[in-house]
Symmetry: C2
Subunit: 109 residues, 2 copies
Amino acid sequence: MTGSSEDRADALFHALADRTRRDILRRVLAGEHSVTTLAAGYDMSFAAVQKHVAVLERAGLLTKRRHGREQLASGDVEAVRSVASMLDELEAVWRGRIARIDLLLTEET
Amino acid sequence: MTGSSEDRADALFHALADRTRRDILRRVLAGEHSVTTLAAGYDMSFAAVQKHVAVLERAGLLTKRRHGREQLASGDVEAVRSVASMLDELEAVWRGRIARIDLLLTEET
DNA sequence: ACAACATACAACCGTTTAGTTGTATGTTGA
DNA sequence: TCAACATACAACTAAACGGTTGTATGTTGT
């Protein structure tokens, strides 16, 4: 269905629309961190941070791998790029508008 | 305060995290449209669409100008670019991680 | 001068979100 | 083997969200 690409966009932008999640994403893009290590950096419960990590994971912005009793989270730069390409598409729409205006202005008849 | 840049990011990503708003943004990036014209394109009340336009306006993604009794909305491509640059910053964080890994791998001692 | 139009906003409703605490399930041996 | 640790998830609460209807305020004259 046409919805699933929009579902993905909803999930990605929603995941990015919270400053704690953006901060977590920065940290896991810089390197692997366990959920406990991440949680230590915020003034909220472990469970709250674990839920933020789950939101990022569901959106595909991070992945986890098991290492002993820890889950190491790592940022997925490809997901970040996919968001960037959605914005590129918006900019392309805008360029189309400008091109149409230029066409009118330079029309020869 | 350090918050205001994060406030802006919150508003931008939140505004983009709804498919109706993304669609409205596409339309106003392609050209000016009145709120009524935009509302005609969706299966919801005029008031609902007007609220979506207000969310996009508060985030700085569109501006309005008065033309008689209409308010013509126009997409602001600079705001779209500012979101793209936030994502570029995230990608730069990731590149720093890769650079650090490469440094370890090519270490000479 | 006024009916119709375009917009804005308040009040309300059901759902989702972001946080909390508490509990269950694995895993380790720092 | 078992106490401590790391994680996941359920249940709950307050606030925010996305939608509705109704009303108020400008603006026009296709």
